[in-house]
């Protein structure tokens, strides 16, 4: 018995053995894919998109933490103001102008927490206040329709996000090529039995992993996971700080193109907690984000009608900059929705203003659109759930903003 005889790809085995057709999608497959991009650290919505002719805005911020005349003017009918997008976000502006991208300003969590971790948890659990929920909002969505054993949800990253908390039907990976296992059939057989024999977290995880790689092996349609060639129209931003993000988007693009039943993908883009040196950092982060979003959207052009991409962050930053050349934790920020079914090219929500008495607690951009309103609209209008409360417990004042067709 040598190494070579042991490592015969498990894929062949998995395709022919105990994983029969029971493991493959059997539910209604008309559902679309939602891609949730979480900008972790609190993205400064006011440095990304702002009314540059607002005197309060100009007074509160100096340097490049305030958008200037060279920022990109956008058309919108939300308010009489000269709203502009960060000059490094030109690739994103292109999506806005071709009406694929909608922007929702002053959006966020209505709970006034200025704690990253609390705000992220609450948003991912799909609540405004209940930290003790045992499932993420995407887990609840998954459970509302999915009964099979295979995986319709992928979290790109080395650990899964809280939005998929409590789900054994999600898989977190960093790259497609890691979706295989180097073990001989006999060992896989035994592990399958051992992991199948218990119900602990460990057991369920092992079972889920084995079922999932079997499904992927079957669905891969000969795609090459070692090297991925994006569509010609897609130009990813593959240098720092956008390399990891580009890889995440590429992985999701592969999963979509594989047509293996992907319903949810999550991507994290970290690094927005800019308490200092923001003038230097922000343009780089926003450029990497814009390029990659644009590239991804072009990469999956054949699937525009079946994919909705939503970008969110836990909160925006303080209106007034601090003396370290950065901004501290604030409140309202920007959400973005991208897709072929989006009424793009416009701003949504309502603009609360930046005068002292209009700010949240006198310091931060107020939240006028609950983040759940935006997510609910996607879920309801795309027929993913009937009632938003299925995914957002106790959220009973949902009214669509017209973001989704």
């Amino acid at each position: 018995m040598d190494r070579r005889s042991l490592i015969k790809g498990c894929a062949e085995y998995l395709m022919t053995s105990r994983f029969g057709s029971d493991y493959f999608l059997n539910e209604d497959d008309s559902r679309e894919t939602i891609v949730v991009v979480f900008l972790r650290g609190g993205m400064d919505g006011l440095n990304f998109l702002a009314p540059i002719d607002d005197s309060n805005y100009r007074a509160a911020r100096g340097g490049k933490m305030a958008l200037q005349e060279d920022a990109l003017k956008i058309n919108q009918n939300l308010i009489q103001a000269d709203f502009r997008i960060h000059p490094e976000a030109y690739a994103l502006k292109e999506l806005y102008e071709n009406k694929s991208l909608a922007l929702i300003h002053a959006a966020g969590l209505t709970n006034g927490t200025r704690s990253h971790f609390e705000a992220q948890d609450l948003m991912e659990l799909g609540s405004n206040s209940d930290k003790n929920l045992s499932q993420g909002w995407l887990t609840r969505y998954l459970q509302s329709f999915h009964t099979g054993n295979i995986v319709p949800a992928y979290a790109i990253g080395s650990i899964p996000p809280a939005s998929l908390l409590g789900s054994m039907e999600q898989m977190n990976i960093t790259e497609m090529k890691n979706l295989s296992l180097d073990l001989g059939p006999d060992l896989i057989n035994m592990l399958t039995e051992m992991y199948g024999a218990g119900n602990s977290l460990v057991h369920r995880s092992g079972k889920g992993a084995l079922q999932n790689i079997a499904h992927i092996a079957k669905s891969s349609k000969g795609l090459n996971f070692d090297s991925y060639t994006p569509d010609k129209s897609a130009e990813y931003y593959s240098s720092w700080p956008g390399e990891e993000l580009a890889n995440s988007f590429k992985t999701v693009a592969q999963l979509i193109k594989m047509e293996a039943g992907l319903k949810i993908a999550t991507i994290d883009y970290d690094g927005w907690d800019m308490h200092d040196n923001q003038e230097w950092k922000f343009p780089r982060w926003i450029q990497a984000l814009s390029w990659n979003l644009n590239a991804f959207y072009n990469d999956i052009h054949a699937y525009h009608k079946r994919v909705t991409i939503v970008l969110m962050t836990e909160f925006g930053r303080r209106l007034k900059a601090n003396k370290s050349g950065g901004t501290d934790h604030g409140h309202g920020s920007v959400m973005m929705v991208l897709g072929g079914n989006v009424n793009g090219g416009n701003l949504y929500g309502s603009w609360p203003g930046l005068a002292n008495e209009q700010l949240d607690n006198g310091v931060d951009l107020a939240v006028t659109t609950d983040y759940r309103t935006v997510l609910s609209e996607i879920m309801v209008k795309r027929n993913l759930v009937k009632d938003p409360q299925m995914v957002f417990p106790k959220f009973n004042d949902y009214k669509g903003l017209g973001i989704i067709q």
Binding site: M1, R3, R40, G112, T113, R114, S115, H116, F117, E118, G157, S158, I159, P160, L165, G166, M168, Q170, M171, N172, I173, N178, L179, L181, D182, L183, D186, L187, M190, E193, M194, Y195, G198, N199, S200, L201, V202, H203, S205, G206, K207, G208, A209, Q211, N212, D270, G271, D273, H275, D276, R318, K320, A321, N322, K323, S324, G326, D328, H329, N361
Partner: protein, 564 residues
Amino acid sequence: MIKRRTFIQAGSLMAIPFLLPEKLLTAKPLEINFETNQIQKDQTWNLLGKVTYGPSKKDILKVKKNGFQTYIKEQLNAPQEDSPEILKRIQDTQLDIKYDYNGYNVDEWRPITYLDKDLKFCRKEFEKVKEKGWHEWIRPGMEVVSANWIRSVYSPWQLKEMMVEFWHNHFNVTVNGDMAMGSCMPTYDRDVIRKHAFGNFRQFLEDVAKSPAMLYYLNNKSSQASPANENYARELFELHTLGSEHYMNSLYDRWRDVPGALEGKPAGYIDEDVYEASRAFTGWTVADGSFIWRGGGREEFPDTGEFFYYDAWHDNYQKRILGYEIKSNMPAMHDGRKVLDLVAFHPGTAKNICRKFLLRFMGDDYPASLLSKAQTVWLQNINAPDQIKITLQTIFESPEFLNYKGQKVKRPYEFVVSVARATEAEFTPTMMLQWQIMGMGYKPFMWPAPTGHPDKDSYWMGPGAMLTRWRTISSILYWKDMGVFKFRFAEQTPGGLSYQGIADYWSEKLTGIRLQEKYRSKIATMLADNAAPDSIPAINETQMEQKLIWLAQFLLSTPEFQTR
């Protein structure tokens, strides 16, 4: 010419002195909990699994002989210094460094050189390599991580190493915070984290607050009046002390409405406490040689890389924090120190930290009774120089802990260290290993958020995590380039055992249990190949090693090895 020894001969030589006393480590027969269908490990294994990176034979024998209490007392009194064996291993380590940056092409193995150096030295070195980029900036940090790998695998003071890891997570900093971060890591690990790991929390907190590592990471270094930079103050409340459970964000600025505030005993904190505390820490910075223009003249910070208080940046007006009023114009550093008192002595901090202890050493389902017991002891010993040690001892001596049967998922770091310990492999860390474990989501000194690595099982276990674990095992066992583990399975196997006996021996050694009969016989049959499972192997050592690598891959992949 050297004659190739057969496995039997090699085994027999080994076996004569060791076979009898070693016997099989766990004499207890296999028990299955029919509710969870999980196999129960022997309680010595179970307890040791909680306070070590994997029970070694020595630990097990010690506990069986003198009892767990004696073992814990010894562990809590670990010496401050490394043993000569550990020191030698660290000194013998060559750590790879490879990058291509701005015309510098480096692909070298370099010894570990920063560990015993002070801030001034590290800062000078940093200035020299600054233009060579990130891999050089983070190098001192990576050396610390590597030394800690070695200690985790080999140190007899396992509990201390676990506590060092615990506090690095609690007071998380990353080498990516600022380009100078790496240069702060040797002193941060040595003079802050290791120094106070079993000590007094208030003193610990002040050394953390003044450590350049934290000052850079949470930007207090640049904080000045006004508006102050609130990053450090916020995480001080939310993560280092009271915890988010005690954050009353809905009260925002209504401090009088915080229960107990008017009696000077506020139950929690609000955003305004954070704002005012951030003002208290203005002027706490790093002597990094900066030039400051002030009143038309130029002032220059010293250039030592050490903590530095710069009064001109301090916001010296009155503040109210946790219901306590600080008057204007107090002496240097008074305001920040007062804040540290207020948060360190708060009962909420006792709860937050004791809970983290229980989460770390027990699991998600720790008993509530033990939390209140630990909190009480923590508060009773608030000024004791060994407050942390006393609290831990209370936990480990409690009936709740001694009877605890729960399992905790090994986080990736514990998982990899436990592989080295269980297999008694010869272990040398490399950067390859570092990247490998990062792929599992564990990023020592690179975890981006100030929370540190989460400690709940659900973060570290799931289908994706399990697949990554299995893949990591196979990398570790087969991937020669990783160079970090040298396995000697055949050499360690007692001679005279049948294939069946070998399967039992390794299963108990690696997982603490004997495999259920159906797997056991199947494994023995597979090991034996064409021979009889109850026959004694008649193959050479190389062939045996191959078989045992395969066996280890299976055993390390079983559910039993994933928990501690």
